[in-house]
Amino acid sequence: MSAIQEVVTEAPAVEAVPKRAMTLGYGTSLAMLLVLILVPLFVKNFVIFQLTMLLIYALAVLALNILTGGSGQFSLGQSAFYAVGAYTSAILMEHADINYALTLPVAGLVCFIFGFLFGQPALRLSGVYLALATFALATAMPQLLKLGVFEKWTGGVQGLVVTKPDAPFGLPMSQDMWLYYFTLAVSIAIYIFSVNLLKSRSGRAFMAIRDNEIAASAMGIDVALYKTLAFGVSAGITGVAGGLGAIAVQFVAPDGYTITLAISLFLGMVVGGVGWLPGSIVGSAFIIFVPNIAEGISKGLSGAVFGVLLFLVIFLVPHGARQVAVVAQHWLGKLKNG
């Protein structure tokens, strides 16, 4: 009697994600794009720099979203991939005199390989164990970067200074503005790539694994391959973001890539809504502007504010910005129909 009951225990109910829910509609996307193109024309250089960072972190959050929202794996170690990307770009630019734009694909590739290799052992882990392994990776990364052996290239504790690129072809733009549009172009390309990736055969495989690993393997999906692939793609995109970050900040140093960064990116994903790609930019805005405001009130307060807000999000809006967007849409619809 009891044995039978045990066998037929129900699987925990998994919330179904509607097919189109991971992206925005065309109209909204275009409006968003127009805003992103026009805003820099009307603001100061410092704000443009902040907007650049907004896009860069949005990319990093997007990468984490592909991993967690797409394939259902965790990572508290995104800062490590971000750091590797940043260092790859910085070293190539400063030691090998390679054009900044060309360093990005290299950074992406290096991180893809790193992520793919890290995904190999991580593959056998799930849930808390994966969180643990990536957490350890993030905490170990600054020490690895400070290592004496690599000091010739990485600059050790001092880090490396990166020169900011000028606008090409004699375009009449400030360096900040050029970098913003460059970042915007890269971000759009990666966003389109990600949307299409998730719509593709591979993307469906990711989601099948997320929803039910056993069922996915029964359908003939190579679970091991796709799980590591998700890790690799996520790390690769984070690496590109890291490279862009290094160029924008003009500086890389080990202590810029601590566990705090990994926590921020994780927070950005939760706030933006797990599995909702446009939420990445909301999450990114959150992790850039909230600490500024908090530090303005009292130094060292940003961690507490982050933590409290994270708890509020978990308890009140567990689906993050996506939930807010859906509710807003609902109300707008009501208003329109009178």
């Binding site: 066998v7 643990l132 905490t139 020490q143 290592l147 060292g300 978990i314």
Partner: protein
Amino acid sequence: MELFTNQVLAGIATGAIYACMALAVVMIYQAIDHLNFAQGEMAMFSTFISWQLMQWGIPYWGAFVLTLAISFAAGILIERLLFKPLAKAPILTNVAGFIALYAIINSVAGLIWDFTIKQYPSPFGSSPFLGSQLISTHQAGMIGITVLLLILLYLFFQFTRVGLAMRAAASVPESARLVGINTSWMIALGWGMAAAIGSIAGMMIAPVVFLEPNMMLGVLIYGFAAAVLGGLTSPFGAVIGGFLVGIFENLVGTYIPGVGNELKLPIALALIITVLVVKPAGLFGRSIVKRV
């Protein structure tokens, strides 16, 4: 040989701290199947509380006992307020909760006591232990406290009703509820005990690493490594794992050239990944078989 014995003893001494930390990690893992990423920060905060009590003129052991009591209560409070509502939530939500707790405690400690490092007294002094040059009295004291703690926990879990109830609640919650055990409160009790054990680890390591808000990050990672090595399901394994990790860390630092203090965390990382890949259940843990 002299150097070797010396390093092994020093390893056992630091291992005692990792053992305490691992014990705290395992206590919560047993209760709710999650790793508490904020465990180290909770311990750090407790240590600051004891430091503050001493600043107010309370003698060391008085502050020690008071801190244990405060940590225990705080652990229960955190569970009741923040994590009880998340009991049925997915792993992601729980991890987010722990990360949030981590950020809050770290930041609040910095706000109250700022980020400068502080001296922390040792109750055992730092003279050579029993006239030998190998370990100091503080190191000997750390080992003694850990062993004592382990014995007390063993007695508690084996011979008291509450201990038995906690074990029952951790291994078969449904059946435990049926025989009238309040499993929800057993979990809260586990949190309280973990917080108290963590505070002991904090107060023992503080004289060695100095007191500051980020002091526990390395210890926590090693605590995780120890817990994973010993097996996340076994408190005894966690303690053995702690000692092994401590010895391993010291020997690697001494005998492998190029690995100094600067590689402490990467060693822990390598250790965690190796164990998880080679023997996920750890040395003493039982492997979990899932029915599908």
